[in-house]
Amino acid sequence: MSNFNIDSKKKRTFDAIVIGSGISGGWAAKELCEKGLKTLVLERGRSVNHGEYPTTMMEPWEFDHLGQITKEMKDANPIASKCYAFQEDAAHFFVKDKEHPYIQELPFDWIRGYQTGGKSLMWARGTQRWSKYDFEGPERDGFDVHWPIGYEDLAPWYSHVEIFAGISGNKDGLEQLPDGEFLRPHEQSCVEKHFTDQMQKHYNGSRPVIIGRCAHLTDPQPIHYQQGRAKCQQRDLCQRGCPYGGYFSSNASTLPWAKMTGNLTMRNNSVAHSIIYDEKKQKAIGVKVIDTITKEEINYFAKIIFVNGATVNTNIVLLNSKSARFPNGLGNDNGLLGKYIHFHNFETGISAEYEGYLDKKTEGIRPNGSYIPRFRNVKKQETDFLRGYAAGFSASRMEVTNREGWGEELKNNLFEKKYGNWRVGSHFMGETIPKISNYVKLDETQTDDWGVPLVRINVAMDDNDRKMAQDFKEQLTEMYTLAGFTNIKTRERNAWNPGLDIHEMGGVIMGKDPKNSLLNEWNQLHHCKNVFVTDGACMTSSSTQNPSLTFMALTARAANHAVEEFRKGNL
């Protein structure tokens, strides 16, 4: 019997364990496996192998409700159904409200994807590098915690992940939004180009408008074909999963790559309950897992543990990892684990029309838009609020459907080819300030189906957020007016709550000083160095870029450091 136990433990022992298979977990798996480490990836959700996308080839007329969600589904999911992608074609990739409850001390729209690949299947694929101004921001503006790394530390890792993932973009030469290793950019529409030119003229280069940078294979290279991926077919049905691997996901890219090394073990339906800490060795030795189907409790062991459960879940795992040494959660000597949650403020937007270029239109489909990098407070403080915002910008021209009349008259109207004015719009992506008062913590009595305490979320917007949103409306109105746009309308998203940006970050933040941060410059817990956190939870601040590219680069950097330390016997 004892031999059997030894064998069993041996089978459950790996060089590294990665908790989560989403956009950052996939990268941890790829880097660790590639460097020869036997790696176990734990995924709490079901298996979705690349290509197992049930709706991906469905034509619009093949959906039971032409894409609309049923009342039953909507009523059962008041939170998930607020997400723009929770529609008939992709709702099966989103967590249903009732299946995974949480406690909202303040309203928080927590959008989740529990399956292989996590939210990398349904993400919006915007990928911009941070600049030195973003990393230096917290120090310049007096935030509590400052980044322990700068742009120079991450730049080679941005290149590393961009080349492999495939990022489309234009080399714009902007200091505030550094260029990357780009595949062919998408084209701007006539009115987007017009806006770019007008802004150049009126603001003298201080408010550039560029084509978006996104994780699409516009011009696949050998490295992408080797992953089994092909050119983006420009369907813009990405949230269904892409059979071509035209956009980057863990499913299409990092996980199959890790598997090809022979070093990957993937375990689905595996909730990471907690990380096991060995008081004698003074390090983490494994992960306690609950099988979601059998409810069996199984321990897995490894010298390196990467926590990539997505921000809130990563916080939960660490808070729930209690030991004599760490009674308040792993690495939580300063009591700050779970604090400094931040996000991107998306609560407003703007739209308008343009009456020019009436002899022109666009043709084909572009899974991307234009982008306005942050122009507020970039190099110095200029406004009565801190930090700034980025914005999307898109201008397109649709055929209008003439619904007038009845009978043959209506039918003829529907067959008519007629174009309306160009329609333009921008969405707001505001940086929020990490604050100790924005936190997640564990409930003391209630647990989920697997015995993990329910999380309590307490995240609020503040005056800085509101002032910034107001400034966005004023500035974008001015910019739209200068470009000659008409019928300008700003939009309040009153039902919007933090979380619906799906950019929640923080709680296990990086910093120079163990007194006010949880992770060091290599994403190691200050007080438990063989545990690495490289998903959104590690972010010291949010800046205004779509965050995933930075998670990927931080993960690749940390994983390579982990391998070096592992080889030296330091972990």
Binding site: R46, S47, V48, E52, P54, T55, M57, M58, E59, P60, W61, E62, F63, D64, H65, L66, Q68, I69, T70, K71, E72, M73, K74, E88, A91, H92, F93, H186, E187, Q188, S189, C190, E192, K193, K231, Q233, Q234, R235, L237, Y357, D359, K360, K361, T362, E363, G364, I365, R366, E399, T401, R403, W406, G407, E408, L410, K411, L414, F415, Y419
Partner: protein
Amino acid sequence: MKRRNLIKSLGLGLIGASHFPAWANNWSDKDLDFNNIEPSGVLSKFVDVTIPETNSPGAKSIGAHLYIQRILNDCYPTNFQKEINETAANINKAANTRFGKSFENLQNNEALDIIKSNATDTKNINFLKNLTIRAYTSSEYYLTTHKNYQMAPGFFHGCVEI
């Protein structure tokens, strides 16, 4: 209850259910088992006169009435379904009063007259008209014949002459 099960499996995203039937080919009246306004024939007549069969398919032959029935049942609350049923009943009543025939047995011009002259159910009639248009403009016939619809165009040009 085939339809219910189908929705359920789509909702749960069961792997393997990769081919779903095209609704226009696979719906039949026996699937529509509750809140059914179609036995009166009002809905099929309504879509037929709203977008009639000419030398090209109309709304009835692309199955718009079946789509409307399904979306009413699955996506709208019971009280609204009842309201629409009442509107259908009112339309039928008006047909009987004016022409001594049920709505479905009217000539197309008579049926259109009934719809256009209705003053009490305008909101619901517009709702049904819009759903008819939505079903028609989402159909395979309309998208591929009139809209040059392509699922995967493989390109984007930002500025072309009309």
